[in-house]
C-alpha cells in the first residue's frame, strides 16, 4: 500500500517543525459493518519512526484510536535547513510505507 505520505518540515528559529500526514484507514476492529453486522477486522498503523539527518527523533507506537489518515506533528531542536527527514510506518498486517522530505 504505497499511497503517498505528505511531510512538511520548516525551521522556526532553531527548531524544526515537522508535520506528517499519512494515508491509512485506521480500522479499530471494534466497528461493525452496517450491512452485514459483522465486525470489521482491525487494520491500523502500529509503529511510526521518524529520523532527521539520520538520527531517530521519534519512535511511536499507536493503536486504532488514532484518527483515519493520521496526522502527526512534532518539533526537533538542533535540526538544520537541508537535513533529510524520513518517516516510516508499519501496520498490523505488515504493510509499510516510508517517505522523505528536506527541512526547509
Amino acid at each position: 500500500m504505497a499511497e503517498p505520505m505528505k511531510i512538511r518540515a520548516t525551521m522556526a528559529g532553531d527548531v524544526a517543525d515537522i508535520k506528517v500526514l499519512m494515508n491509512h484507514i485506521m480500522e479499530t476492529g471494534t466497528r461493525k459493518d452496517a450491512k452485514t453486522g459483522q465486525l470489521v477486522p482491525a487494520h491500523h498503523i502500529t509503529n511510526i519512526t521518524a529520523t532527521v539527518g539520520g538520527k531517530t527523533v521519534l519512535d511511536a507506537e499507536i493503536g486504532g484510536a488514532v484518527s483515519k489518515n493520521p496526522y502527526l506533528g512534532f518539533k526537533v531542536k538542533g535540526a538544520k535547513a537541508g537535513d533529510k527527514v524520513t518517516v516510516s510506518w508499519v501496520d498490523n498486517k505488515g504493510d509499510k510505507n516510508s517517505a522523505d522530505a528536506t527541512v526547509a
Binding site: 508535520k19 521519534l58 507506537e61 484510536a65 488514532v66 506533528g73 526537533v76 531542536k77 516510516s88 516510508s98
Partner: protein, 154 residues
Amino acid sequence: MNHQRRTVLKGVGSAAAVGVAVAAGLLKPTAAFAGDRSAFDAKGLDAAMKAIKATGAAESKDITVKAPDIAENGAVVPVEITSNIAGTESIAILAEKNASPMVGEFNLSNGAQGFISTRIKLANTSNVRAVVKAGSKMYTATKEVKVTIGGCGG
C-alpha cells in the same frame, strides 16, 4: 501515461527506502510486529495506566493538553500535548472513556521537543490524558472533551 510511470517509480523508491531502514536497524522488525502491545489491549484506564507503568503518575502543571472543549465529531479530535518538563523522554496519550484507552506512545530522542500534535478518536465525552516520562518519573495532565457524536462506531 507519464504520470503513471512516475507513481510506479515512486512506489519502488519508497519500498527500497523501507528496506534500507530495516537494514539500518531503524525499523526493528521484532519490535514492529511482536512488540509489547498489551497497553493497547488493556480495557479501562487503570489497566492501561498499569500497562505503561504510569500508575500513580504525578499531576503536573508543566504539561498542556490542548484539545477542543466540544468536539462535534468524535472520530477526529485534534489533540496537542506540550510538555515543559526538562528531559521529556516520551509522551503517551490516553482517551479515558474509550473501551481501550491507550491511543499512542511517542518516544522522543535526539533533540525532539516535548511536543506531539495528532488527531484521535473518542468514543464519548471523556478526559484526554497525557502521560509524560521524564528521567525515571511519570507525570500526567488531563483535559475534558465533550463529544456529540462518538467516534468508535459502536
